[in-house]
Symmetry: C2
Subunit: 200 residues, 2 copies
Amino acid sequence: MNLNRTSNEQETILKFLKEIQSYSPLEDHSEKALANICFTQKVGKNEVLQEIGKTCKTIYFVMEGSARIFYLKDGLEITEYFAFKNDLIVRAESLFKSLPSNKGIVSIEETLFVGIPSNALFSLFDEFHDIERLFRILIQTVYLETIKRLESIQFQTAEERYKGLFENHPEFIQKIPLKHIASYLGITQVSLSRIRAGIS
Amino acid sequence: MNLNRTSNEQETILKFLKEIQSYSPLEDHSEKALANICFTQKVGKNEVLQEIGKTCKTIYFVMEGSARIFYLKDGLEITEYFAFKNDLIVRAESLFKSLPSNKGIVSIEETLFVGIPSNALFSLFDEFHDIERLFRILIQTVYLETIKRLESIQFQTAEERYKGLFENHPEFIQKIPLKHIASYLGITQVSLSRIRAGIS
DNA sequence: CTGATTTTTTAACATTTGTAAAAAGAATAC
DNA sequence: GTATTCTTTTTACAAATGTTAAAAAATCAG
């Protein structure tokens, strides 16, 4: 156990370890090794966690709060992904290819993350088969989510997607500016306003 | 080595093993174990490889030819994915969740596949860390491709997507009916015809 | 080769979504 | 609490895409 941690930090990391083992369990020694490389990070509202242009070297989990991945298109922010409690948030193409990312990560509200340095994690993959398995299954899971999202954006109307989003995540509408939701849905803010007007 | 194989089959499987190890190399004994569970399958044009409604239990690689994954929406076929030479083709949500798939796989032309029974493969994951790693990296790779596709469908016009598709895969237009390309691009056949008329 | 079938294009019109600008509303700073 | 800034809605019009039907072109079977 890392002795530089406060008991709060330690508690967060233990909660995190328990949460991710719902995907695939770890041996005790693997769990300890993973715990050793994790850290916690707390940010305020609308704070940049990872900057555009930098290479992604950390995998984050949201323990409390929410954040989003965005990129710029014609000078405007496009939101690609929202992460809530217990979601993974990572700029995958940059992480897996070790290339600078054209995307950034910002918090939506005050948010507590657990971070895992990717180089240290990849070293643990060599040593602990079960850690690599856990992350293989995590990647599988986000892959399936991405396929679902692709299907929804390809073959549902904007209105269907908006409704679907709030069936799964009613908390969205409370805290996220609509312009971000619109770009996430692949439509303009004006179009989203029209949809909202039509529903209520 | 499986003694029931013809030398043609054996050659195909060796070629396959060489090809996938460009993602991550295998130890000799792992490679042999994987070779042992693989099989080859050759189908003619427009033949069903995996039926809608059945649970996916096999991971396929295209060695020669091409195939597509499709599903039905309002009685019409929507093509979700095209696989060409050296591409993986698998109904991921069914495979990873062991649930019946609402998707099917059909060949586009005469096509040679290498198949891997998923249960046997998952057993090899337990025994051979490097096989699980190889497939972890494969899943990573298809995940990144899916993210790219999501971005293109969300923020490019149909015309941009059509042009992009043929920059990457000029062979598409030669052998695939336009109705399948249209549904893959998320547009109607009529719309695709208009785009094609506008370009040439 | 020829008729039947399938695929692709074209046409006319409807609907959805986008763009730009302005107005209304909400949040924030001082 | 008021002014400023940011967010959301509304309006008017433009562009893109969908729908339906028919015509043209290509492919296939015998």
